[in-house]
Amino acid sequence: MRDTPFSLKLYRWFLRLYPAGFRENYAGAMEREFRDELAESSGVWALAALWIRLLADLAVSIPVQVSREVFQDLQYTLRLWASRPWHAGFAITALAIGIGANTGVFSVVNALLVRSLPFHEPDRLALLHQFIPPHDSAKQFHDWRQRSTYLTDAALFEENDANLGGMRVGSRAHVAQTSWNFFSVLGTQPVLGSGFAADEDVDGTGWGLPGRNALAVIGYGLWQQLFGGDPKVLGATIRIDGNQLTIVGVAPPGFDYPGKAVLWKPAAFSHGNNGWGIIARLKPGITWPQARAAFAVEVERLSPKLGGIDNSNLRPSITSLQDGLAGPVKNASLMFMGAVVLVLLIACTNVANLLIARTADRAAELSIRSALGASRARLARQLLTECLLLSFVATLAGLVIAYWTTSLAVKIEPPPLGAQSYSILDGRVLAFTLMVSVITALALGVLPSLYVGRIHALRSRSSSRTRGSRLVRQSLVAAQVMLTMILLAASLCLGRAFVHLMGIDRGYDVRGVVTVSVSLDGTTHQMDKRQLPYFEEVLDRIRSLPGVRTASATEFLPLYAFGFVGGPFGLDGRPAKLNSSMLPILSGYFQTMGGRILYGREFTEAEVRSGAKVAVVNERFAAGFGAPEDAVGHQLTIGRETPWKIVGIVKGMEYETDPTLANSNQVFIPSATPGSFFSTFVARVDGRAQDQLAVIRDAIQSVDPQVPVFGVKTMQQRLDEVFAGPKFYRTAVWFFAGFALLLAVLGIYGIVSYAVVQRTQEMGVRMALGTTPVRLRGMLLRQGLLMIAAGAIPGIAGARLTGRFLESLMDGAKPIDMAASVGLVLLFALVASTSIWAATRRITRLDIIAILRTE
């Protein structure tokens, strides 16, 4: 019969789908029966009927047998764990931290860099940085965008916090003014009403022209909150900073670009407003490199026309919207991803090491099982089942850690858009976790499984079987030392960068300073042009409070370096080399902030009240024109403005959080209209600043409850908030490095104490021949340190490479120097020696007679 060989071959192939244990026992009998039945069925129909019956049988019985064996393996594993709960607990904890941290950090990376933005074709959207196209009038801007060779459309926007009317107490909202085509560039349709129409953006200062651009699209949340989701909201008005805006549309839920905005209005273009951001969409067919090239040409062509300001410190660039939004968080999250991958690798090597040790320990049991007929595949699969279960349990525990990590990340680095929420309940994140989990299990299982194969092959209990595993384990420890070294170096790197960041002389003293912000936009004080009297009254009340030493106010507080106004200031008509920031303040500001007046004095109350043209400049500005002290009495000039008389030189205050932008030129002038946008009261108090927060806030509110009061914080709290990100990175990397070090110590301890047990007889013989226990321990120490050195040398090389990588990612990070490398190696040698010494303490208790008797 021609079919016989083929049918038999096919059936054999199906039999291979049964689990190994079942196949070993029954495959022969089943094949034999198949032959019998095949012989009995003659004809095509009988053969077909046989195959139908057999296929049904296979379909039912294979899953049953597979799940049965897997269940047995699981039971066996659980019994094994119960007999060594410490061992299992340690392995699960180490893996859970590794997997959890990876999942948590990936959920951030996924939200910021992988998941696409909720806009139409988001990968074609671009942000233009440090470059604003012609924008003195609406026509100028729209002409520019229509002529662009590489952009199909572009929109300008400016973000601000503003006072929102219609709420019970004065409150603040993030609003944006945009060119009319903002929504169409993003490809977003309002859910109700429409976006803005052509020509609804106008030329004008401030809020523009009532009747022309007094329109608003409101956010979905605001619609629900203020109007209860009423569809008749179109045509209603909303008050922003005292301006009545007519609502023409409602944005879709979750739409909050830019910067969590809740309201959008058509822009008012005016000469000299440089606060614009620009978003654009690439022309179809234009690639990113082409766009970058075209952009560079355009910057070159337009930059001389942009107002004669020195632009040497600007670096215009065009990036995808996604990269632009991720900004600094991108680097931090990538660095973190690297760190947590290292942690997981270290945890894997460690747990693999433990598993090999235990497998070696179980060698006798495994050889007996194998002699009893358990196949190599069966034993290997049992080990693999254990690894899968280990990894699965660790993943479940890791998800809890991941959840905690993401909620921490939201606090430290909130996502720029509401739609970019960090969540572990995301298909991609869960797939990533599953992948990590399976890879972990395979990585753990592969070496012990190979080892099982060798036990099976040898089927002996000779001591040679352990030598190979010892080499593998030593290599694993060396690899672990190397990875740990890299993490330690990275943590040292970041720690130093952080210390450097915190140690900068900021030019003011944060201790004992209370800060409270107010905004007068849209209030009666602004309408009546009586901002200064309001501030004077508030300051009088604050100063009369017990425990308050001095008080003042400023339009810009250090560390909050956005919305700066400045320009090419000069001395007696000679322009400075760099632009200067202009910082309007009230009297007593330097005294309150603990600033240092180097020469001259600060403003008097009378000068502020009379609007005197006086100025204080920082040392750096003054030093640009010769000896700083000589600048006192000279004229501060800009364009054709009436010059200011310089009355004092101060040590500059650090307004920027970014160290690379630090130490710029600063010009302080009396604030004539404090409270526009917003201003901040500062007060220096006796005792703990926190204790005075409420009292000072109440004093401010008592002057006029309609004025929104916000940002009630001590200066120390503001500093902590601003540096929460770097501090968190440092702490987290320290934690990972400490965890890695602990794992490395455990690994070293484990392998050395295992070696002591393995070589007990050899030790006994050596001691009988006159070697002292101390010398024996010294020998093991030398051997152990060799293993450390084998890992430490590539570790140092890796650490220096990592340092360079970190340098490019984080400001202020520098690769570790030679001294630090040596220090790290010494630290490692010390820690390793201690754990080796502890692991060999058993030698001193060895009973030579008992050992020799067994020989």
Partner: protein, 142 residues
């Protein structure tokens, strides 16, 4: 910390636990396993008549059920595997005369426990039959 490794290294008591429920078998009442699946009950019935190999069991069951119950090899040996684990049957070392035997065939026989379980199943069935007879009566020609 050291305790983990000391524990790991010093626990050299190798215990072999075969994955059977040998110890628990005696305590569990035979009735706990009922109702048996038709395949298991038929296999016990066949082995009640003496030692058989798998193929013989299968043919006997097919004949007894007039061709209605044809066990496929996977289900048959799956059931045998499970019954061995439960201790209902055991593998027999005795072989018929060499010329009648194929070395690859495995022979099985029922254990005393297997008999008890089969009895328990028969009792259960009888009670069902009696109940059915009381409710519906028993026709002369089924």
């Amino acid at each position: 910390m050291g305790a983990i490794f000391d524990n790991l290294i010093e626990s050299r008591a190798y215990s072999i636990r075969l994955c059977t429920n040998m110890s628990s078998r005696d305590q569990s009442a035979a009735a706990d396993l009922t109702p048996l699946s038709p395949a298991v009950f038929h296999i016990l019935l066949s082995l009640g008549g003496g030692e058989r190999h798998g193929y013989a069991i299968k043919r006997e069951i097919a004949a007894r059920s007039r061709g209605k119950l044809k066990l496929g090899p996977g289900v048959l040996y799956g059931s045998i595997n499970k019954m061995l684990d439960l201790g209902l049957i055991e593998e027999s070392a005795d072989r018929p005369d060499a010329h009648l035997d194929d070395e690859r065939r495995r022979y099985y026989r029922i254990t005393p426990y297997g008999r008890k379980v089969a009895q328990a199943e028969a009792v259960r069935m009888r009670e069902l039959v009696q109940l059915a007879a009381a409710r519906f009566g028993v026709p002369r020609h089924a």
